[in-house]
């Protein structure tokens, strides 16, 4: 029974009561314009009940969405269950948001949700064309029947029903999975979407009714928050659009795979601040002219600060910290024109290390001579011969440093297996005094090796016309060479390189008969081919030394070198 029906029945009930009560007059029929207090109370009470009903699912979505975003980042059964519950609740929230109307029409919202659930969970997202033909035909029939029975009024609720399905996919991490499965380059847009989007909370915000509370001030605040939410989406979407997918087969991941992909991607991305907050800072500080530039600068500053503090171990606002900041800033400036690169998504198990402090086993008394256990785990999928050199130290609040002695290792442990895990027992060389200490465990990993790759297409620049070159590029080459940048495994460091005419151009024009060129002399390339490369620290530690690097380019001879002073030229 809708709100209007309740009000009408309330009105007529009040009228009947008025007629039967003592002193009632047949002429004193209550009307809507002269609604007696009893009827008004019924009407207001009913409206209040309706408003409260509308906001509950939305509020649950907001709270549940924030809990999911804060506490269930990695893949977990509880996180998945919460996502499914929020999926169902979002249907109710959207149904309420559609406003007063026939409840049967609102059932249409759940139809697409049911279709999606049946297809995704029951049929395991089967995308076989023959199956899809029948499935879509059945869905279309049901949809048509519903539309006919509702005389077309059920179409809008049905369309709205796709929104929860889309949000479920986004929440579980569809975008990072597409990046991993389809080798899409990670754009700044995707980074922002992955890291900073509490999807269900956002949907909950949008589904709140217009009058959430009795207080006009609070309702205004919530309206402003909705606008801010929309602005948030707009700002986060500033970066270039998701790259053209252009794939031939669709790969529909399972829910667990989506979450795992999201977690994998989060671990590989550098830490940064929420881009929305950074943008707001830039705008309110007056940097409206070049917001993007301001955001990049602030993010870079934050990364360098994190590096100097967490990796180099310098305290902020100390001369060492300032020096580190300046040096790192200068070093990164020189890298701005160097080659781009992207994480190689096909290597799902890169070489990685993890340090786990077993704090529950740490001695609590300063007089306790027990060592501090630290677990070191190494993933070595390629079976490299890695030497591990562990060390530890303790730094007190007053700045005093006490070196530690590692037991359980003779130093320079060589590991060759695919996985390695050991406990190092760190014992302070001198007794620790009462107070707080920061324990640092460091593992120097030697003889690490990493390889990157790059794909290019070569065309004859002499024979082909410009139109033919464009056709080749658009119709053929772009289908084969999908990633323009070098692909680098997400390991401790990577070699980023680019070969070609610059700007990550996937096509290289070569000229035949160079030595006998009619231009005279040695002849020259129509377009110079540049090889640019640099080694980047992409882990959370520090590169101690680069022992050497080699770029495999059979058939190429370098003509000129441009390199940093003191650096050796690469072997090619």
């Amino acid at each position: 029974m809708g709100i209007w029906d309740k009000i009408k029945s309330g009105t007529s009930r009040a009228a009947r009561q008025n007629m039967t009560s003592s002193g009632a007059s047949p002429t004193m029929m209550p009307t809507l314009s002269k609604t007696p207090a009893a009827v008004k109370a019924v009407a207001v009470g009913t409206a209040a009940t309706a408003a409260a009903g509308m906001k509950i699912p939305a509020v649950v979505l907001i709270i549940g969405g924030l809990i999911k975003f804060s506490l269930f980042q990695g893949p977990s059964g509880a996180g998945l269950l919460l996502s499914i519950m929020l999926f169902v609740i979002s249907g109710y929230a959207l149904a309420q948001r559609l406003g007063p109307g026939d409840a049967k029409l609102k059932l249409g919202i759940f139809l697409p949700m049911i279709y999606f659930s049946v297809w995704y969970f029951l049929f395991k997202a089967n995308y076989d064309p023959s199956f899809l033909f029948y499935f879509i035909a059945i869905i279309a029939s049901v949809t048509l029947l519903f539309a006919v029975f509702t005389k077309g009024k059920g179409v809008v609720p049905e369309l709205v029903g796709f929104v929860p399905a889309i949000f479920l996919f986004l929440d579980l991490g569809m975008i990072p999975f597409l990046v991993q499965q389809l080798n899409l380059s990670l754009t700044p847009l995707m980074e922002n979407l992955i890291l900073w989007m509490p999807w269900w909370a956002l949907l909950g915000l949008f589904t709140l009714p217009e009058e959430v509370t009795d207080s006009p001030a609070w309702n205004k605040i919530i309206e402003i928050l909705k606008i801010v939410g929309i602005l948030y989406l707009v700002f986060v979407f500033i970066a270039p659009a998701v790259p053209n997918l252009g794939y031939n087969t669709s790969v529909i991941p399972g829910a667990a795979e989506l979450e795992e992909a999201q977690q994998n991607l989060r671990e590989k991305l550098p830490e940064g601040r929420n881009p929305f907050l950074v943008r707001m800072e830039c705008i309110f500080s007056g940097e409206i002219q070049d917001v993007e530039g301001c955001v990049k600068e602030k993010q870079l500053k934050y990364e360098i600060e994190k590096f100097c503090e967490d990796v180099e171990g310098y305290e902020p606002e100390t001369p060492e910290f300032d020096n580190c900041f300046y040096e790192e800033q200068e070093r990164r400036k020189s890298m701005t024109l160097l080659a781009g690169g992207t994480i190689d998504r096909t290597i799902t198990i890169p070489t990685a290390a993890e340090i786990v402090f077993h704090e529950e086993s740490f001695p609590q008394l300063f007089s306790d001579p027990s060592p501090f256990p630290v677990e070191f785990k190494l993933t070595n999928p390629r079976g490299l011969s890695i030497t591990i050199n562990p060390s530890c130290s303790f730094k007190g609040q007053d700045g005093t440093e006490v070196l530690g002695r590692i037991d359980g290792s003779y130093g320079n442990d060589v590991v060759e297996g695919e996985t390695y895990s050991t406990f190092y027992l760190c014992t302070p060389e001198e007794p620790l005094q009462e107070g707080r200490y920061t324990m640092t465990f460091q593992a120097d990993l030697l003889n690490l090796e990493t390889k990157s790759r790059l794909q290019r297409a070569f065309i004859n620049g002499d024979v082909l016309t410009q139109k033919e070159k464009e056709r080749l590029r658009n119709e053929e080459i772009s289908k084969v060479v999908k990633i323009a940048q070098s692909q680098v495994p997400a390991e401790f460091a990577g070699i980023y390189f680019d070969l070609g005419h610059g700007g990550d151009d996937i096509v290289i024009e070569y000229r035949e008969g160079l030595e006998s060129s009619a231009e005279g002399g040695e002849g020259f390339m129509k377009k110079p081919i540049l090889l640019r490369s640099y080694i980047k620290n992409i882990g959370r530690g520090k590169i101690v030394q680069v022992q050497g690097y080699f770029i495999d380019l059979p058939g190429f001879t370098p003509r000129k070198y441009f390199k940093e002073p003191g650096m050796d030229c690469p072997r090619i």
């Binding site: 029975f149 016309t465 053929e476």
Partner: protein, 301 residues
């Protein structure tokens, strides 16, 4: 409208809806292929079909394994095709996918010889198809990569012909109002001549008077899915007289640019009659054509 009437209406709608849905399903079941009348082989736009044979290669191939790439070529043109060859191109880096030199390009074996496939005709209404098999070997994945997407093309090139033939009315005496001959159609459209290269429009421009001339302007288009490499006008006749034709642009009988979409072919001749008459106009063109088909497979561990 009260509730009972609404229910009545819904009840009557229900069987109608069910009938509609059932009709939809039944109409989509088992459509039978109607045989084409043989006189239509040289009409419309037809293409040579180039495709990878089902599951050859499979969607996923394992490291260091041999597999076959089968390409099907089906000549559905109203003309024979000759000098046919199919070559593989694309992500054939020897690291991931290896084809020997001998395997990179092959010619189909037709009933009339290598590199020759018959077109559709009254004696051969289904055309001719051939399956070419390429032997390939998969390499190893990069480092400890889990999978690698590989894309490559099968490119088929062939030479064929297209014949444009129409009966047209020519009136050298444009100024004579009482000419009781045929009716001139200054502009005509065509749907194709059974090939991917098609004459789609013809315009007739007559210069009347003594020494009347007619200029026939033909719009030649590439309507197929591939590319025209070159076109050569082998002959053009108006009745039994040879007509000189040339492409506007190159000003020759040959179009030799690899990016042909559309061209104007202009044919001129002197008319030897003074009153309107009907006659046949024919143009025979030889052309070279290239088709490609893309395939993506995954190399997995």
């Amino acid at each position: 409208m009260d509730l009972s009437k609404k229910r009545e209406m819904n009840r009557s709608l229900l069987p109608l809806t069910v009938l509609l849905v059932l009709t939809l399903f039944l109409s989509s079941c088992g459509s039978s292929v109607q045989p084409e009348p043989i006189q239509y082989f040289k009409e419309g736009v037809k293409d040579v079909k180039l495709s990878f044979f089902q599951n050859t290669p499979p969607k996923e191939i394992y490291e260091d394994s041999d597999f076959k790439i089968a390409v099907e070529l089906d000549n559905q043109l109203g003309y024979d095709i000759k000098e046919v060859s199919v070559a593989m191109a694309g992500d054939l880096d020897s690291r991931y996918l290896q084809l020997t030199d001998e395997e990179m390009e092959k010619r189909p074996e037709g009933s009339m010889g290598d590199g020759y496939l018959l077109g559709r005709s009254p004696t051969n209404p289904v055309g001719e198809r051939s399956i070419l098999e390429f032997s390939a070997h998969s390499g190893r994945l990069f480092e400890n990569s889990e999978r690698q997407e590989l894309g490559f093309f099968a490119k088929a090139s062939y030479a064929s012909e297209v014949l444009f033939l129409d009966t047209i009315c020519i009136n050298p005496n444009l100024y004579d109002v009482y000419d009781s001959g045929c009716k001139v159609d200054p502009q005509k459209s065509y749907t194709g001549q059974g090939a991917p290269l098609a004459v789609t429009k013809m315009e007739q421009v007559v210069s009347p008077g003594s020494g009347a001339e007619v200029e026939l302007r033909l719009t030649v288009k590439n309507k197929g899915k591939g590319r025209v490499k070159s076109i050569y006008v082998r002959s053009a006749k108006l009745g039994s007289s040879e007509v000189y034709c040339k492409f506007k642009g190159p000003d020759s009988r040959t179009w030799n640019v690899n990016t042909f979409d559309e061209a104007l072919l202009i044919c001129n001749t002197v008319l030897d009659q003074i009153s309107s008459y009907e006659t046949t106009f024919s143009v025979e063109m030889d052309y070279e054509y290239v088709l490609s088909s893309f395939k993506s497979i995954s190399l997995v561990k």
